[in-house]
Point group: C2
DNA sequence: AATTTAATGTTAGCAGTGTAAACATGATAG
DNA sequence: CTATCATGTTTACACTGCTAACATTAAATT
Protein backbone atom coordinates (compact mmCIF):
# COMPACT_ATOMS: atom_id res chain seq x y z
CA UNK A 1 0.00 0.00 0.00
CA UNK A 2 3.05 2.23 -0.09
CA UNK A 3 2.87 5.05 -2.56
CA UNK A 4 5.42 5.87 -5.20
CA UNK A 5 6.43 9.01 -3.40
CA UNK A 6 7.73 8.60 0.09
CA UNK A 7 6.62 11.98 1.36
CA UNK A 8 9.20 12.61 4.03
CA UNK A 9 12.28 10.93 2.66
CA UNK A 10 14.84 13.63 3.30
CA UNK A 11 14.16 13.87 7.01
CA UNK A 12 13.94 10.12 7.35
CA UNK A 13 17.29 9.74 5.62
CA UNK A 14 18.88 12.28 7.93
CA UNK A 15 17.44 10.64 11.03
CA UNK A 16 18.52 7.24 9.85
CA UNK A 17 21.97 8.53 8.94
CA UNK A 18 22.39 10.09 12.37
CA UNK A 19 21.48 6.82 14.00
CA UNK A 20 23.69 4.62 11.84
CA UNK A 21 26.52 7.13 11.95
CA UNK A 22 26.58 7.15 15.72
CA UNK A 23 26.21 3.39 15.90
CA UNK A 24 28.84 2.34 13.37
CA UNK A 25 30.84 5.45 12.58
CA UNK A 26 30.46 7.55 9.49
CA UNK A 27 32.88 5.43 7.49
CA UNK A 28 30.49 2.53 7.59
CA UNK A 29 27.62 4.65 6.38
CA UNK A 30 26.65 4.05 2.77
CA UNK A 31 24.02 5.81 0.75
CA UNK A 32 22.79 2.49 -0.55
CA UNK A 33 22.30 0.94 2.87
CA UNK A 34 20.58 4.10 3.94
CA UNK A 35 18.22 3.84 0.99
CA UNK A 36 17.50 0.21 1.71
CA UNK A 37 16.79 1.02 5.35
CA UNK A 38 14.21 3.58 4.21
CA UNK A 39 12.68 1.14 1.73
CA UNK A 40 13.59 3.18 -1.29
CA UNK A 41 15.74 2.66 -4.37
CA UNK A 42 19.52 2.95 -4.26
CA UNK A 43 19.70 6.32 -5.91
CA UNK A 44 16.67 7.97 -4.40
CA UNK A 45 18.80 9.77 -1.78
CA UNK A 46 20.47 11.68 -4.59
CA UNK A 47 17.28 13.68 -5.06
CA UNK A 48 17.95 15.14 -1.61
CA UNK A 49 21.71 15.02 -1.23
CA UNK A 50 23.94 15.97 -4.12
CA UNK A 51 26.87 13.99 -2.80
CA UNK A 52 27.71 11.92 0.20
CA UNK A 53 29.46 14.91 1.71
CA UNK A 54 26.15 16.76 1.64
CA UNK A 55 24.65 13.97 3.70
CA UNK A 56 27.58 14.11 6.07
CA UNK A 57 27.01 17.84 6.39
CA UNK A 58 23.40 17.24 7.41
CA UNK A 59 24.41 14.73 10.06
CA UNK A 60 27.10 17.09 11.33
CA UNK A 61 24.55 19.90 11.46
CA UNK A 62 22.32 17.81 13.69
CA UNK A 63 25.35 17.09 15.82
CA UNK A 64 26.18 20.76 16.28
CA UNK A 65 22.59 21.52 17.15
CA UNK A 66 22.69 18.90 19.88
CA UNK A 67 26.07 20.11 21.07
CA UNK A 68 24.80 23.68 21.17
CA UNK A 69 21.83 22.62 23.20
CA UNK A 70 23.99 20.58 25.57
CA UNK A 71 26.25 23.58 26.15
CA UNK A 72 23.51 26.12 26.51
CA UNK A 73 23.34 28.07 29.73
CA UNK A 74 20.18 29.95 30.49
CA UNK A 75 20.98 33.50 29.49
CA UNK A 76 19.05 35.25 32.24
CA UNK A 77 21.17 34.03 35.07
CA UNK A 78 24.35 35.73 36.00
CA UNK A 79 27.28 33.74 34.70
CA UNK A 80 29.97 32.50 37.05
CA UNK A 81 33.03 30.37 36.64
CA UNK A 82 30.94 27.44 37.73
CA UNK A 83 28.77 27.89 34.67
CA UNK A 84 31.77 27.84 32.39
CA UNK A 85 32.91 24.65 34.06
CA UNK A 86 29.48 23.22 33.45
CA UNK A 87 29.64 24.17 29.78
CA UNK A 88 32.99 22.49 29.50
CA UNK A 89 31.76 19.36 31.23
CA UNK A 90 28.70 19.15 29.04
CA UNK A 91 30.83 19.62 25.97
CA UNK A 92 33.18 16.83 26.93
CA UNK A 93 30.33 14.58 27.92
CA UNK A 94 28.76 15.12 24.54
CA UNK A 95 32.03 14.36 22.77
CA UNK A 96 32.54 11.15 24.69
CA UNK A 97 28.97 9.92 24.48
CA UNK A 98 28.54 10.77 20.80
CA UNK A 99 32.04 9.92 19.74
CA UNK A 100 31.25 8.85 16.21
CA UNK A 101 29.13 11.87 15.46
CA UNK A 102 31.80 14.04 17.03
CA UNK A 103 34.32 12.60 14.59
CA UNK A 104 32.14 13.62 11.72
CA UNK A 105 31.70 17.11 13.11
CA UNK A 106 35.39 17.77 13.73
CA UNK A 107 37.09 15.48 11.27
CA UNK A 108 37.73 16.04 7.60
CA UNK A 109 34.65 14.27 6.28
CA UNK A 110 33.12 17.64 5.53
CA UNK A 111 35.88 19.68 4.00
CA UNK A 112 34.53 23.18 3.82
CA UNK A 113 31.76 24.21 6.17
CA UNK A 114 31.15 27.34 4.15
CA UNK A 115 29.57 25.21 1.42
CA UNK A 116 26.79 24.20 3.79
CA UNK A 117 25.04 27.23 5.29
CA UNK A 118 23.08 25.28 7.88
CA UNK A 119 26.18 23.49 9.06
CA UNK A 120 28.02 26.76 9.25
CA UNK A 121 25.28 28.32 11.30
CA UNK A 122 24.92 25.45 13.73
CA UNK A 123 28.68 25.25 14.20
CA UNK A 124 28.94 28.98 14.76
CA UNK A 125 26.11 28.92 17.25
CA UNK A 126 28.15 26.56 19.42
CA UNK A 127 30.87 29.16 19.44
CA UNK A 128 28.39 31.96 19.96
CA UNK A 129 27.05 30.20 23.05
CA UNK A 130 30.48 30.16 24.56
CA UNK A 131 31.15 33.74 23.55
CA UNK A 132 28.00 34.96 25.24
CA UNK A 133 28.80 33.15 28.45
CA UNK A 134 32.31 34.57 28.60
CA UNK A 135 31.01 38.03 27.85
CA UNK A 136 28.69 37.78 30.83
CA UNK A 137 31.43 36.52 33.09
CA UNK A 138 33.62 39.60 32.85
CA UNK A 139 33.70 42.83 30.93
CA UNK A 140 36.49 41.87 28.58
CA UNK A 141 37.12 43.24 25.13
CA UNK A 142 35.89 41.22 22.18
CA UNK A 143 39.43 40.15 21.45
CA UNK A 144 39.96 38.79 24.94
CA UNK A 145 36.62 37.02 24.90
CA UNK A 146 37.40 35.38 21.59
CA UNK A 147 40.75 34.36 22.94
CA UNK A 148 39.18 32.77 25.99
CA UNK A 149 36.64 30.97 23.82
CA UNK A 150 39.25 29.47 21.54
CA UNK A 151 41.34 28.48 24.52
CA UNK A 152 38.50 26.81 26.39
CA UNK A 153 37.25 25.19 23.23
CA UNK A 154 40.64 23.78 22.38
CA UNK A 155 41.00 22.49 25.94
CA UNK A 156 37.75 20.59 26.00
CA UNK A 157 38.17 19.47 22.41
CA UNK A 158 41.62 18.20 23.22
CA UNK A 159 40.39 16.36 26.28
CA UNK A 160 37.73 14.59 24.25
CA UNK A 161 40.34 13.44 21.77
CA UNK A 162 42.96 12.37 24.27
CA UNK A 163 40.58 10.74 26.73
CA UNK A 164 39.25 8.63 23.89
CA UNK A 165 42.61 7.83 22.40
CA UNK A 166 44.33 6.92 25.61
CA UNK A 167 41.91 4.06 26.11
CA UNK A 168 43.32 2.51 23.01
CA UNK A 169 46.99 3.09 23.45
CA UNK A 170 47.90 -0.01 25.42
CA UNK A 171 48.57 -0.39 29.12
CA UNK A 172 52.02 -1.93 29.00
CA UNK A 173 53.54 0.61 31.28
CA UNK A 174 50.52 1.95 33.02
CA UNK A 175 50.53 0.24 36.43
CA UNK A 176 48.19 2.68 38.04
CA UNK A 177 50.22 5.80 37.38
CA UNK A 178 50.31 5.79 33.59
CA UNK A 179 48.22 7.60 31.02
CA UNK A 180 45.25 5.26 31.12
CA UNK A 181 44.62 5.41 34.83
CA UNK A 182 45.31 9.12 34.78
CA UNK A 183 42.89 9.73 31.93
CA UNK A 184 40.29 7.74 33.77
CA UNK A 185 40.88 9.83 36.90
CA UNK A 186 40.49 13.02 34.90
CA UNK A 187 37.39 11.70 33.18
CA UNK A 188 35.71 10.94 36.49
CA UNK A 189 36.72 14.28 38.00
CA UNK A 190 36.03 16.45 35.02
CA UNK A 191 34.63 19.31 37.07
CA UNK A 192 37.71 19.58 39.24
CA UNK A 193 39.95 19.38 36.24
CA UNK A 194 38.12 22.05 34.30
CA UNK A 195 37.87 24.27 37.33
CA UNK A 196 41.62 24.14 37.65
CA UNK A 197 42.45 24.97 34.06
CA UNK A 198 39.70 27.58 33.83
CA UNK A 199 40.93 29.46 36.87
CA UNK A 200 44.13 30.37 35.09
CA UNK A 201 42.30 31.25 31.92
CA UNK A 202 39.75 33.55 33.52
CA UNK A 203 42.33 35.48 35.49
CA UNK A 204 44.53 36.07 32.48
CA UNK B 1 64.45 -6.09 -17.01
CA UNK B 2 62.43 -5.98 -13.83
CA UNK B 3 62.41 -9.17 -11.84
CA UNK B 4 59.33 -11.02 -10.70
CA UNK B 5 60.07 -10.19 -7.10
CA UNK B 6 60.23 -6.57 -6.19
CA UNK B 7 62.69 -6.95 -3.37
CA UNK B 8 61.67 -4.07 -1.17
CA UNK B 9 57.96 -3.78 -1.76
CA UNK B 10 56.77 -3.43 1.81
CA UNK B 11 58.92 -0.42 2.58
CA UNK B 12 58.16 1.17 -0.76
CA UNK B 13 54.45 0.74 -0.15
CA UNK B 14 54.73 2.34 3.27
CA UNK B 15 56.74 5.26 1.94
CA UNK B 16 54.35 5.74 -0.91
CA UNK B 17 51.35 5.47 1.41
CA UNK B 18 52.82 8.08 3.75
CA UNK B 19 53.32 10.43 0.84
CA UNK B 20 49.88 9.94 -0.69
CA UNK B 21 48.20 9.96 2.69
CA UNK B 22 49.69 13.31 3.59
CA UNK B 23 48.98 14.71 0.14
CA UNK B 24 45.36 13.61 -0.29
CA UNK B 25 44.22 12.39 3.11
CA UNK B 26 43.94 8.77 4.13
CA UNK B 27 40.40 8.44 2.79
CA UNK B 28 41.66 8.88 -0.75
CA UNK B 29 44.28 6.22 -0.30
CA UNK B 30 43.52 2.95 -2.05
CA UNK B 31 45.51 -0.23 -2.01
CA UNK B 32 45.08 -0.56 -5.74
CA UNK B 33 46.44 2.89 -6.55
CA UNK B 34 49.29 2.21 -4.20
CA UNK B 35 50.08 -1.00 -6.05
CA UNK B 36 49.94 0.73 -9.40
CA UNK B 37 52.24 3.48 -8.14
CA UNK B 38 54.77 0.82 -7.16
CA UNK B 39 54.42 -0.97 -10.49
CA UNK B 40 53.01 -4.11 -9.00
CA UNK B 41 49.75 -6.04 -9.32
CA UNK B 42 46.59 -4.95 -7.52
CA UNK B 43 46.76 -7.58 -4.84
CA UNK B 44 50.48 -7.72 -4.22
CA UNK B 45 50.19 -5.41 -1.18
CA UNK B 46 48.12 -8.08 0.54
CA UNK B 47 51.28 -10.15 0.95
CA UNK B 48 52.54 -7.42 3.28
CA UNK B 49 49.38 -5.95 4.79
CA UNK B 50 46.58 -8.20 5.89
CA UNK B 51 43.98 -5.46 5.62
CA UNK B 52 43.87 -1.82 4.79
CA UNK B 53 43.85 -1.04 8.48
CA UNK B 54 47.23 -2.73 8.78
CA UNK B 55 48.53 -0.35 6.16
CA UNK B 56 46.99 2.57 8.00
CA UNK B 57 48.71 1.35 11.15
CA UNK B 58 52.07 1.43 9.38
CA UNK B 59 51.53 4.96 8.15
CA UNK B 60 50.40 6.04 11.63
CA UNK B 61 53.49 4.40 13.11
CA UNK B 62 55.71 6.46 10.85
CA UNK B 63 53.73 9.50 11.91
CA UNK B 64 54.27 8.86 15.60
CA UNK B 65 57.97 8.30 15.02
CA UNK B 66 58.23 11.68 13.35
CA UNK B 67 56.13 13.29 16.06
CA UNK B 68 58.31 11.73 18.74
CA UNK B 69 61.39 13.05 17.04
CA UNK B 70 59.88 16.51 16.62
CA UNK B 71 59.06 16.61 20.34
CA UNK B 72 62.31 15.23 21.55
CA UNK B 73 64.35 17.31 23.93
CA UNK B 74 67.96 16.37 24.46
CA UNK B 75 67.90 14.46 27.74
CA UNK B 76 71.21 15.72 29.10
CA UNK B 77 70.15 19.30 29.52
CA UNK B 78 68.27 20.47 32.52
CA UNK B 79 64.60 20.88 31.65
CA UNK B 80 62.89 24.22 32.14
CA UNK B 81 59.43 25.51 31.41
CA UNK B 82 60.82 26.90 28.20
CA UNK B 83 61.58 23.37 27.05
CA UNK B 84 58.05 22.27 27.72
CA UNK B 85 56.80 25.22 25.71
CA UNK B 86 59.10 24.17 22.92
CA UNK B 87 57.77 20.63 23.03
CA UNK B 88 54.24 21.96 22.83
CA UNK B 89 55.10 24.24 19.93
CA UNK B 90 56.79 21.47 18.02
CA UNK B 91 53.85 19.22 18.64
CA UNK B 92 51.38 21.75 17.32
CA UNK B 93 53.58 22.59 14.39
CA UNK B 94 53.73 18.93 13.49
CA UNK B 95 49.97 18.59 13.74
CA UNK B 96 49.35 21.58 11.53
CA UNK B 97 51.98 20.79 8.94
CA UNK B 98 51.12 17.10 8.71
CA UNK B 99 47.41 17.48 9.15
CA UNK B 100 46.33 14.50 7.09
CA UNK B 101 48.78 12.14 8.74
CA UNK B 102 47.74 13.55 12.09
CA UNK B 103 44.14 12.63 11.30
CA UNK B 104 45.19 9.08 10.68
CA UNK B 105 47.15 8.94 13.91
CA UNK B 106 44.41 10.34 16.12
CA UNK B 107 41.27 9.45 14.24
CA UNK B 108 39.41 6.19 14.20
CA UNK B 109 41.00 4.74 11.06
CA UNK B 110 43.01 2.42 13.26
CA UNK B 111 40.60 1.12 15.83
CA UNK B 112 42.74 -0.65 18.36
CA UNK B 113 46.39 0.27 18.66
CA UNK B 114 47.03 -2.83 20.74
CA UNK B 115 46.67 -4.94 17.60
CA UNK B 116 49.73 -3.29 16.11
CA UNK B 117 52.74 -3.55 18.43
CA UNK B 118 54.92 -1.14 16.49
CA UNK B 119 52.19 1.46 16.43
CA UNK B 120 51.62 1.00 20.12
CA UNK B 121 55.28 1.46 20.84
CA UNK B 122 55.72 4.54 18.69
CA UNK B 123 52.61 6.14 20.14
CA UNK B 124 53.69 5.39 23.68
CA UNK B 125 57.14 6.77 23.03
CA UNK B 126 55.57 10.14 22.26
CA UNK B 127 53.98 10.04 25.67
CA UNK B 128 57.16 8.78 27.25
CA UNK B 129 59.06 11.74 25.84
CA UNK B 130 56.69 14.11 27.53
CA UNK B 131 56.75 12.15 30.73
CA UNK B 132 60.53 12.29 30.93
CA UNK B 133 60.58 16.01 30.35
CA UNK B 134 58.05 16.67 33.07
CA UNK B 135 59.89 14.38 35.45
CA UNK B 136 63.03 16.44 34.96
CA UNK B 137 61.20 19.69 35.44
CA UNK B 138 60.12 19.05 39.00
CA UNK B 139 60.24 16.20 41.47
CA UNK B 140 56.59 15.28 41.25
CA UNK B 141 55.04 11.92 41.94
CA UNK B 142 54.32 9.65 39.00
CA UNK B 143 50.63 10.45 39.33
CA UNK B 144 51.19 14.18 39.11
CA UNK B 145 53.56 13.78 36.19
CA UNK B 146 51.05 11.65 34.31
CA UNK B 147 48.39 14.22 35.05
CA UNK B 148 50.52 17.02 33.67
CA UNK B 149 51.30 14.98 30.58
CA UNK B 150 47.69 14.26 29.81
CA UNK B 151 46.78 17.87 30.42
CA UNK B 152 49.51 19.29 28.20
CA UNK B 153 48.83 16.70 25.56
CA UNK B 154 45.15 17.45 25.50
CA UNK B 155 45.89 21.17 25.29
CA UNK B 156 48.16 20.94 22.30
CA UNK B 157 46.02 18.27 20.69
CA UNK B 158 42.99 20.46 21.14
CA UNK B 159 44.74 23.46 19.68
CA UNK B 160 45.70 21.50 16.59
CA UNK B 161 42.11 20.47 16.09
CA UNK B 162 40.53 23.85 16.74
CA UNK B 163 43.10 25.91 14.89
CA UNK B 164 42.49 23.75 11.84
CA UNK B 165 38.74 23.69 12.18
CA UNK B 166 38.28 27.37 12.77
CA UNK B 167 39.74 28.15 9.37
CA UNK B 168 36.80 26.36 7.88
CA UNK B 169 33.98 27.63 9.97
CA UNK B 170 33.05 30.75 8.02
CA UNK B 171 33.88 34.35 8.76
CA UNK B 172 30.40 35.83 8.73
CA UNK B 173 30.73 37.38 12.12
CA UNK B 174 34.45 37.53 12.49
CA UNK B 175 35.32 41.15 11.72
CA UNK B 176 38.74 41.01 13.27
CA UNK B 177 37.64 39.92 16.73
CA UNK B 178 36.01 36.58 15.92
CA UNK B 179 37.30 33.04 16.12
CA UNK B 180 39.22 33.09 12.85
CA UNK B 181 41.30 36.14 13.55
CA UNK B 182 41.79 34.98 17.11
CA UNK B 183 42.91 31.54 16.03
CA UNK B 184 45.32 33.13 13.64
CA UNK B 185 46.71 35.33 16.39
CA UNK B 186 47.16 32.31 18.64
CA UNK B 187 48.76 30.35 15.83
CA UNK B 188 51.32 33.05 15.19
CA UNK B 189 52.04 33.52 18.90
CA UNK B 190 52.09 29.90 19.91
CA UNK B 191 54.96 30.29 22.32
CA UNK B 192 53.25 33.03 24.31
CA UNK B 193 50.05 31.09 24.38
CA UNK B 194 51.63 27.87 25.57
CA UNK B 195 53.73 29.71 28.10
CA UNK B 196 50.59 31.15 29.58
CA UNK B 197 48.66 27.92 29.88
CA UNK B 198 51.70 25.98 31.01
CA UNK B 199 52.42 28.35 33.86
CA UNK B 200 49.20 27.39 35.56
CA UNK B 201 49.78 23.72 34.92
CA UNK B 202 53.30 23.59 36.27
CA UNK B 203 52.43 25.38 39.46
CA UNK B 204 49.49 23.15 40.23
C1' DA C 1 74.03 -29.89 -5.74
C1' DA C 2 69.34 -31.24 -5.91
C1' DT C 3 65.05 -30.80 -4.06
C1' DT C 4 61.55 -29.29 -1.11
C1' DT C 5 59.36 -25.39 1.10
C1' DA C 6 57.91 -20.91 2.01
C1' DA C 7 57.73 -16.15 0.61
C1' DT C 8 56.22 -13.21 -2.69
C1' DG C 9 54.20 -12.14 -6.85
C1' DT C 10 49.91 -12.50 -10.59
C1' DT C 11 45.12 -13.33 -12.47
C1' DA C 12 40.38 -13.68 -12.10
C1' DG C 13 36.43 -12.66 -9.72
C1' DC C 14 32.93 -11.34 -5.92
C1' DA C 15 30.34 -8.10 -3.44
C1' DG C 16 29.99 -3.52 -2.34
C1' DT C 17 30.60 1.58 -3.18
C1' DG C 18 29.57 6.66 -5.14
C1' DT C 19 27.48 8.64 -8.83
C1' DA C 20 25.55 9.84 -13.52
C1' DA C 21 21.92 9.28 -17.24
C1' DA C 22 17.56 8.06 -18.89
C1' DC C 23 13.12 7.10 -17.69
C1' DA C 24 8.55 6.75 -14.64
C1' DT C 25 5.26 8.60 -11.55
C1' DG C 26 2.38 11.66 -9.51
C1' DA C 27 1.64 16.22 -6.85
C1' DT C 28 0.80 20.82 -7.99
C1' DA C 29 0.37 25.26 -10.66
C1' DG C 30 -1.63 27.32 -14.81
C1' DC D 1 -7.54 19.50 -17.64
C1' DT D 2 -3.13 19.77 -18.71
C1' DA D 3 1.73 20.89 -18.33
C1' DT D 4 5.46 21.12 -15.29
C1' DC D 5 8.52 19.75 -12.01
C1' DA D 6 9.87 17.43 -7.81
C1' DT D 7 10.70 12.97 -6.60
C1' DG D 8 11.24 8.23 -7.34
C1' DT D 9 13.34 3.91 -10.31
C1' DT D 10 16.41 1.33 -13.49
C1' DT D 11 20.52 0.64 -15.49
C1' DA D 12 25.22 1.21 -15.88
C1' DC D 13 30.16 2.61 -15.05
C1' DA D 14 34.32 2.93 -12.71
C1' DC D 15 36.19 2.12 -8.49
C1' DT D 16 37.00 -0.19 -3.99
C1' DG D 17 38.61 -4.07 -0.34
C1' DC D 18 39.40 -8.63 -0.34
C1' DT D 19 39.62 -13.89 -1.45
C1' DA D 20 41.08 -17.99 -3.91
C1' DA D 21 43.85 -20.36 -7.12
C1' DC D 22 47.96 -20.28 -9.47
C1' DA D 23 53.15 -18.80 -10.81
C1' DT D 24 57.71 -17.72 -9.74
C1' DT D 25 61.77 -17.57 -7.25
C1' DA D 26 64.50 -17.18 -2.93
C1' DA D 27 65.80 -19.87 1.05
C1' DA D 28 66.13 -24.01 3.73
C1' DT D 29 66.87 -28.96 3.94
C1' DT D 30 68.56 -33.06 2.50
Amino acid sequence: MKSYHHGNLKQELIDCACRLCERDGYTKLSIRSLAKESGVSQTAPYRHFETKETLYASVATEGFKKLSKACHIDADKKITKKHLVEIGCNYIEFGLKNANTYDLMFGTAVGNFAEYPELLESANSTYENMRLSFSKLASDSDEVIAFKCITLWSMVHGLVGILRKVQVVGDDFDEGVGPISTASVIATNLEDHLDKVLTGLIQS
